[in-house]
């Protein structure tokens, strides 16, 4: 096919046929932006953002997070006898102790006085 023939063929194409590759790229970018927006909205609204310690500002505590939970738990299948109950009692007591031994989110750390933004004493 000669160059002249190619030019003739190109001139006979409609604007859509001539620009469809650019339109394809453009649409791909628009769809990608939309999907990223949806993903970010889900990330923010689901509460996942609050658990994400890789965010800026959490560098100092990142290493202190418990990375994997090795606790296997109690089996949902099997018979029920005295031994089963004793096993559960022990597992439950150990885990309950860990979960309740600390007064989380308590204290007076956010009081006006602690933050020195209280009304000055006369």
């Amino acid at each position: 096919m000669s160059e002249e023939q190619l030019v003739t063929d190109a001139s006979s194409l409609s604007p859509w046929q001539r620009h469809r590759f650019v339109v394809l790229i453009g649409l791909t970018i628009v769809i990608s932006i939309f999907l990223v927006g949806v993903a970010l909205a889900l990330y923010a609204s689901s509460g996942a953002a609050q658990l994400d310690l890789s965010r800026p500002g959490y560098t100092s505590v990142r290493d202190k997070a418990v990375r994997s939970d090795t606790f296997e738990g109690f089996s949902a299948s099997g018979s029920v006898d005295k031994g089963t109950l004793d096993d559960f009692r022990k597992l439950y007591a150990d885990q309950a102790e860990k979960a309740t031994n600390f007064d989380s989110f308590g204290g007076d750390v956010m009081s006006d006085k602690t933050l020195s933004i209280d009304a000055p004493t006369k």
Partner: protein, 178 residues
């Protein structure tokens, strides 16, 4: 018709009066003097630094504590209740506590999310330029943090309740086993 008109006007006057009175009372509860505003302006950068640290340590607490609270439900309460049910035992007492626990755990997650969002808003405020907005935002964040704390206390209570329900079941089991 005239009576209805008078009644309507009276209602509007009462409603407006109530609204105005309430806003005045709220303002009267927390009067902020120029001296306090100045004090906030002077100390708020340091306060924000403290809040940054608290924000990070609370996030860690949420991850680690949250994991423990989840474990109590998914790896202990639920499997144990299932096992009792599969073996045709009456686990209704335990199931009720476990359901309450799950509901409270959901509340804890939502409360923490709201607290964290409030804290992020507080940290984003330019407190030197907006000391009053900063003060109000700290108060809002504080109340949300208190809600999270209250939710953890209820979770601890429910963990104890489940233990009591378990001991009751174990006692009944022992008696029927004799």
């Amino acid at each position: 018709m005239k009576r209805f008109l008078i009644f309507s006007i009276a209602m509007v006057v009462v409603a407006t009066g109530t609204a105005l009175g309430h806003s005045l009372l709220v303002r009267a509860d927390s009067p902020m003097t120029e001296t306090q505003i100045q004090r906030i302006r002077e100390n708020c950068v340091e306060a924000q630094s403290t809040l940054y640290q608290l924000h990070a340590s609370d996030a860690l607490l949420r991850v680690n504590r949250g994991q423990l609270y989840e474990t109590m439900s998914t790896k202990l309460m639920e499997p144990f209740d299932s096992r009792l049910t599969l073996n045709s035992y009456d686990a209704s007492g335990l199931v009720t506590v476990a359901a309450d626990y799950d509901a409270k755990l959901t509340e804890f997650r939502v409360d923490y999310q709201q607290y964290e969002e409030a804290m992020s808003r507080t940290l984003a405020i330019n407190c030197t330029n907006q000391p009053v907005a900063f003060y109000d935002s700290v108060a809002d964040t504080r109340s949300k943090r208190t809600k999270v704390h209250d939710a953890t206390l209820v979770l601890h209570q429910l963990i104890g309740d489940y233990k009591d329900a378990f001991e009751k079941f174990a006692k009944d089991f022992k008696e029927t086993d004799k």
